[in-house]
Symmetry: C2
Subunit: 984 residues, 2 copies
């Protein structure tokens, strides 16, 4: 018996079952019918009236490739199929009353853009064209359809480039003095068809084929051959697709919506793709072709109005689309055509939607019972959740602005999503002043520094021309949820001239600008905004509650049995927050703890900075005295010096030195100022922490001790150097006595500061005196901080607040650093609780951000009760990339050219940094099974990185408040994706 080479879409599923003995899955059908053919069959069997069609199987193609001819029996089956289609449609292939026209398309198992295009309108010749003209009442349309068919057939089936035909069309338009194809006259169209036929004959030496069956046979063979065309073969090699799959051929009835007032065409959505509301939504046109709807040439009507024009058809459409939504379990975007009172569904697919709609639809469908809650959680993307938490531009206004040439730049890095509109301010003070004057501000700087933070916080948006995803501007922006575009290189920001120049346009300070932190678009002028409100985002909150439920229950991370201490609880989401208001926001957003409070951010506050600077300028002198005192005391206590016993003489000497040193300490101005500055900072820090404990009642709060190099709190070296050089060059100018004194004082102060800054200068500050190294060098600073933390905790506990402070020591590289520093600080903590008479549940732990810490985790966990991965620095040091420069200097090129799969400061590098993290967690828990492990680097809010943290067995991820919802979703999705799989 002949093999079945041709299947009708109206009974493809049943036929398959008959031939193969089992009902096909969608994938089974894709293998045999190709993707498009499977779709036609599936849609038909879902009950949609799909224009009758037939599919020649991929097996037929393979057979053709092997033998070089159409398989025996195939053509007969094609003829049977055509008959069947004629019957279904009431049309005749080549008929002159109601002619059947078809489209012919290739369709492989997977989509292959490199293959054959579609041939439309196959079946046209002079007679059928005339019939079409009569049926549509549109002669121009019939000639245009014929012209297009000749072009496509010549080009795609016969291989004679369409360029030749198109050139003739261009000439015609020039002659007629018209711009668009639709403007060509009827006579022009007629002439064109005649001309095309002539050209065809001149090229091929024979007439353009008029027999529809000949046309069809040629098209089928062309599709089969196209499988081994150069483009297709290249594509398969590139995409690693087997060469022996073959392609199917789809022959599908053409239907026309322009056959009178019982015809029409449109696009219909089963829900509103903008809001997600469960309403029937779309556009339609009476008596029109599908492309008229899309092209926007004629004014469409809302599809709901179709109920007035064609009530029966409308009811049918509604019913069918609902059926399709149920079938595909997702909101459907459908195309339909009504040809002379008969509804045809041309296409259905899962509809694109806004972020808001996506979330609403997922939650609604779960509530309707159409999908499970877990499916709802898996269907929404983290990006969609993120979008809802930032102001967004009104899309129509964006289009208008683009049309008006107001788009200034798109090349920046989109580091903090959300849209912002404001007047430009070229420095932090101006930004703050404008804000106080009631303006919305966009702060614009070549780059930002810590002293700019007050201006940044005052701004609606931040825009810089330098830096990348982890520049200061980017970090601060994300931290505070301020939309930002950084490193927009094409902006020439002239701070002195208070203007920015780009592509011939100039914006001055105070001019309006708008930026979209989600896609890095920057506009001149204002774009209309929509604002977020988490409280009102009912569906989002529902979805995230479901996500948390999944995270807490469905966590079934399975570790090899020799791994110790991996959490059985789900991956929690904590937040990075320095201030109570951030903490409160993060709790609203669902955070279960604070994973990182950066104490030094508090040092930058304007009223504290003077004390911080006093502390720094006197620290070395004071500490040198303290060190000497303690060294002498130790010698007396132990009777030893450098390991050797001391003589009585030496002992007397040391005792005398100690006395002298104590006197020196008592008299020292440096010590006085140093201790006074610390004493001044203590109550401020205490009240900072109290506020945090209050906001996080019942939750753990990880507070990191001072981390950055101290010079960050002082003015820049270059600035000081220029000032001193200028002053010195100006020294000889004649001055009054007062002027002279003032001049000397100014110069002296600048010089002192310059000296201090120079002394602190480091070739690579990132790897310099910071973190725990500071704590060991100047123990009084960290002791003050620990005292402030414990005093605040005790005070809060006494007020009935449930406090769980966790004190984090940053930048540990060797366990001995912890052994020394932690012991000192634990003593302070104990001392405070004794003083206050309050028991507080506190922990000491460390940040893992130095590769060596990760490598020696087994030892470090002997001291640390918790780990927090500082993946920003860990990535810097594992890669040897300085994030301040890398993006500007080479990293962008690395990502653009594919040397790196992604920017490792945005998406955690699993192969390198991640490998270290896994080792670290495993080795650490082997030492201390209840070691709490989390991440507080910016990766903590990035979905792929959250997934990795789940896989690495962390207890929590911590991210900026605005990323908490995203992380909650990502954590749940990771749990679902990897449920029950063994991890390594």
């Amino acid at each position: 018996m002949t093999k079945q080479w041709v299947y009708l879409s109206r009974n493809g599923k049943e036929e398959y079952a008959r031939v193969y003995g089992h009902a096909p899955s969608l994938n089974d059908m894709k293998v045999l019918f190709g993707g498009k053919g499977a779709g036609l069959v599936d849609m038909t069997s879902a009950g949609a009236p799909v224009p009758p069609s037939a599919t020649l199987t991929t097996e037929a193609c393979v057979e053709y490739m092997n033998t070089g001819k159409l398989p025996a029996g195939l053509w007969d089956q094609v003829l049977v199929a055509v008959k069947d289609i004629e019957q279904q449609t009431g049309k005749q292939f080549g008929g002159t009353t109601n002619p059947l026209l078809v489209s012919v398309r290739s369709g492989a198992r997977v989509s292959m853009p490199g293959m054959m295009d579609t041939v439309l309108n196959l079946g046209l010749n002079d007679a059928t064209r005339a019939a079409l003209a009569k049926l549509t009442g549109n002669e121009w349309f019939s000639y245009d359809a014929y012209r297009r068919f000749i072009t496509m057939f010549s080009d795609i089936v016969m291989g004679y480039s369409r360029e030749h035909y198109e050139r003739r069309l261009e000439e015609l338009k020039e002659k007629e003095g018209v711009e668009g194809d639709p403007d060509v006259s009827l006579d022009g169209m007629k002439w064109l068809v005649a001309e095309y036929k002539q050209m065809y004959k001149a090229h091929f030496g024979e007439d353009f084929p008029t027999d529809p069956y000949k046309q069809l046979e040629a098209a089928i063979i062309a599709v089969f051959k196209s499988w081994n065309g150069k483009r297709a073969v290249d594509y398969r090699i590139h995409e690693n697709i087997p060469h022996d799959w073959g392609t199917a051929v789809n022959v599908c009835t053409m239907v026309f919506g322009n056959m009178g007032n019982d015809s029409g065409t449109g696009v219909a959505f089963t829900r509103d793709p903008s809001t997600g509301a469960k309403v029937f939504y779309g556009d339609y046109l009476l008596n029109a072709q599908g492309e008229d709807v899309v092209a926007g040439i004629r004014n469409t009507k809302p599809v709901s109005r179709m109920g007035e024009d064609l009530p029966e058809m409308y009811a049918q459409l509604v019913e069918i689309t609902q059926k399709l939504e149920k079938h595909y379990k997702d909101m459907q975007d459908t195309e339909f055509t009504i040809e002379r009172g008969k509804l045809w569904m041309l296409q259905t697919r899962n509809g694109k939607r806004t972020s808001r709609a996506s979330i609403k639809i997922a939650v609604d469908m779960a509530n309707e019972g159409l999908i499970t809650r877990e499916e709802a959680v898996m269907r929404v993307t983290p990006k969609e959740v993120d979008a809802l938490l930032h102001p967004q531009f009104d899309e129509k206004d964006v289009q208008k602005a683009k049309a008006a040439g107001r788009l200034l730049s798109t090349v920046g890095v989109n580091v903090s999503p959300g849209a912002a509109v404001g007047v430009l301010a070229f420095d932090a003070d101006t930004a703050e002043a404008l804000k106080k004057a009631g303006k919305s501000v966009i702060m614009i700087r070549p780059e930002t520094k810590p002293e700019d933070v007050h201006g940044m916080i005052a701004s609606k948006g931040i825009l810089t021309s330098r830096g990348g995803a982890t520049a200061h501007a980017a970090v601060v922006a994300r931290q505070f949820g301020i939309p930002a575009v950084v490193g927009a290189r094409d902006l020439d920001i002239d701070v002195d001239a208070r203007e920015v120049r780009v592509g011939g346009q100039v914006l001055k300070e105070g001019d309006w600008a708008s930026l979209n932190g989600a896609n890095s678009e920057v506009f001149a002028g204002q774009i209309a905004l929509t604002e977020p409100d988490f409280d009102k985002e009912v569906e989002l909150r529902t979805l995230l509650e479901w996500a948390d439920e999944i995270s807490s229950k469905a966590d079934a991370r399975q570790w090899p049995s020799d791994y110790k201490g991996f959490p059985t609880r789900g991956l929690q989401v904590w937040t990075n927050a320095d201030y109570p208001k951030d903490a409160r926001r993060a709790r609203l957003y669902g955070a279960k703890g604070i994973g990182l409070c950066r104490t030094e951010h508090m040092f930058f506050e304007q009223e504290r900075l003077p004390f911080v600077q006093q502390m720094i300028l006197n620290a070395d002198a004071a500490q040198a005295l303290f060190d000497r005192e303690s060294r002498l005391q130790t010698t007396l206590d132990t009777g030893k010096e450098e390991g050797a016993n001391i003589t009585a003489d030496r002992r007397a000497e040391v005792a005398k030195e100690l006395e002298a040193t104590k006197e020196e300490v008592a008299k020292s101005e440096a010590v006085k100022v140093y201790l006074a500055a610390l004493a001044k900072l203590l109550p401020s820090q205490r009240s900072d922490f109290y506020g945090l404990f209050e906001a996080m009642d019942g939750c753990p709060v990880i507070i990191r001790l001072i981390d950055p190099p101290l010079h960050e709190f002082l003015p820049g070296e270059e600035e000081l150097l220029v000032a001193v050089t200028e002053l010195e060059a100006d020294a000889s100018r004649p001055r009054t006595e007062t002027g002279k004194r003032l001049f000397e004082e100014t110069l002296h102060a600048k010089k002192v500061m310059l000296d201090a800054v120079k002394k602190m200068h480091e070739a690579n500050p990132m790897m310099g005196l910071r973190g725990i190294r500071l704590g060991i060098t100047y123990p009084d600073i960290t002791k003050m901080q620990v005292r402030a933390i414990l005093e605040a905790a005790c005070d809060a506990a006494q007020k009935g607040i449930s406090v769980h402070p966790e004190i984090m020591i940053p930048l540990t590289g060797h366990f001995n650093e912890l052994a020394v520093a932690q012991a000192e600080l634990e003593a302070v903590a104990k001392q405070v609780t004794l003083e206050k008479g309050v028991q507080v549940d506190y922990k000491f732990g460390t940040m893992i951000e130095i590769p060596r810490a990760a490598l020696t985790s087994a030892k470090i966990a002997e001291y640390a009760q918790f780990y927090s991965f500082g993946t920003n620095d860990l990535t810097q040091m594992t890669y040897g990339y300085s994030r301040d420069d890398a993006e500007r200097r080479f990293l962008s090129k690395y990502v653009d050219t594919g040397i790196l799969p992604a920017n490792p400061f945005q998406i955690l590098d699993r192969d390198g940094v991640g490998k270290l993290m896994k080792m670290c967690v495993r080795d650490g828990r082997a030492t201390r099974t209840d070691l709490e492990c989390g991440i507080c680097g910016e990766h903590g809010g990035e979905p792929s990185s959250v997934e990795f943290c789940y896989l690495a067995g962390l207890n929590y991820v911590s991210c900026s408040p605005f990323r908490v919802p995203v992380a909650r979703l990502a954590a749940a999705q990771a749990a679902v994706t990897h449920r029950g799989k063994a991890l390594s």
Copy 2:
């Protein structure tokens, strides 16, 4: 039967065998007799006439501790032993003719400095003192001995502090108006003894004991009790020594060399400890006490002269010391005393010796058959080998200089051993000029920079007040074997004033100074020198040949069976050399290849630097054009832009753009200068490499492509900033036309350079645009280098030289970097060999210095044919330490206070960096079993690090030429130490 508590040294070994049923090892004896007791027994049984002595066992001590009283039978055994000693010596304990005096000492299994001191002269009372006076003919001596005994007995046995007695002595000296103890009058001594007895009685309420047996019993009990004294217990806790070991008590005959002209005393060495020559060596004094020899109060005679005074005794002494040398298989340092015609050996120990002597003695002893070659290799320390390769100070001259107060500083870091003498030069140019004028120079700077290298090379020594073991000065100094002291913080180096101030002294430019790079001593003026000559170091060369033999044969590193590709060959020693003369020197020193040639060092040469700077200043502009050209060409070639097919219109546009770009390239001044500079550098580099291949005929030569950030080749930013600011401040001064033009030109040039430097400024240059990142950003530079390497290699091969170039790509972090860069460079290499028509055996590999490279070694080894660990940078990034600053800022404190066991830039950190290296080697060889792995960081010449490299399975270590001999020794010692042990 009573246990044997007391053993005589004359038959201790035999007694032990009788009691325990087996001959004791030295360790067995230490357990029972303590370290000192075992030594006495061992020396006696080696045939030396040791003053008769007895040892009370550690068991006796334990028994005493348990029961609180002397064990039963012990005192009887003591009495028997005393009798035996009396018999041996012909003296009587408490006798008034020839009284026996003894010393009583504690002696635990291991040396415990925290325990009881020695009691000498026990047995003295008025009667025995008188006998002693008579025997020695020295009444003063007898009173002095008695006075000392009372002091020691009171203090050590009875616990009444010696301070009380010493105060009385001080008062006496003041009264008599004398300085030293020996100057006290006889009457004074007499008075003192009487006074001491009074004091004793006043304090204890009873007379000072006169019965020698009572004295002895009290001393024995005091020693036993001292085991649980506070000092001893603390020491044991600190050193982790068990508390139940107990101490032995040694009772030993006192002998006196001042009993007439048939008596004497001296120190004798079996070989010359200064040269190692096999001659009898030492000093002696007739009729004198041992301390007279040591104190240098009387002029000693060479021991060889003893043959004239006491020929029999001399012959006996020579014979006995030879016997002892054979027994201990090492050069002996002995103390002897002749008491009334009887020779006593008081002590023998392995003698301290100079480095030179150590090597000669080891080689001689192996040649004499006394020890094996392997023992000879194990006996010499790497430090001793090192010392022979650097000029050294004459020790006597050093002492003289110290006595004269010429020692200026000792607090610097001793970074490059050897001694240097020269006139001070405060900058590189002056150093060079002085050298040309025939002077020996010591260059002194606060710190050095790359542009100082020409001055450093011209200098005999380098001295800085800043930096540490890995500062620029230190690295360059070691590289060129220039003695250096860096970071001598107490030196106030005033470059402007051309002087250095320290401790009240001032040295000016041109003044002489001397420094010792081995111990960081710095002197004013000249110290006499001894110079090294490897050719003449016959014994050293022999020893190192034996070491190589061991390395190549005895390498039996055993790896777990699942490890792939670990070398069965020994650990080789290669060298880091940039110039042929270094390479030649390294071969002389035994290097088997070049592990690192730093091509950029060649860029710093004065005649090339201008071209290098031109290249840098034009690289960005030129590269931007090249990049645009190549992007457009790719679009035309592939017909795609950003992945999408382009239209015909766009294609035409691109073609036009490409034409325009090509024109722009052709006209571009930047391109012209850039390519011209590269073309200028090519022949220089080629001839550099040719010289290296010639010098290393037959050996592998690893050449590293350009590595440092480009700004290192430009002037410093601060310098330029000050210059520009000063010029601008001076702009308004009236000038002639020419002056104005000149001024404008100067200002412009400085500004251009400043702009370029600013643009290149990086916050952390260590982690910035350097290494392979440069190669990918500016491929023409590395292509030029590869062309130069291959051209040189082909030329050399044609001249019959056996060339094995290995091209090393630095700073790889991701395998894709290699995938891209290496492919381009391999194409150049292939191209050159085709042009030249020569087959050259070359390799491509990478430096492993980024943690991520080590972590992803399995992938990187798919590209790299060899690895070289750049442990300087790998340590920086694994620890997060910037070596430019770390030492100055906190690392010294870390090492001083024991937070770090050692400076990880000096001694490779096995737990962190080493762990990464092991992973990297193992994973890399799993991918590529013949992966060649080596180290080229400075650790390659440090013995402990060499041992680690052996353990990690490396093929070779590479170090500076001057460290090659050290590394050869260390490699052999590692092989011996770990022979046959399984590695992990």
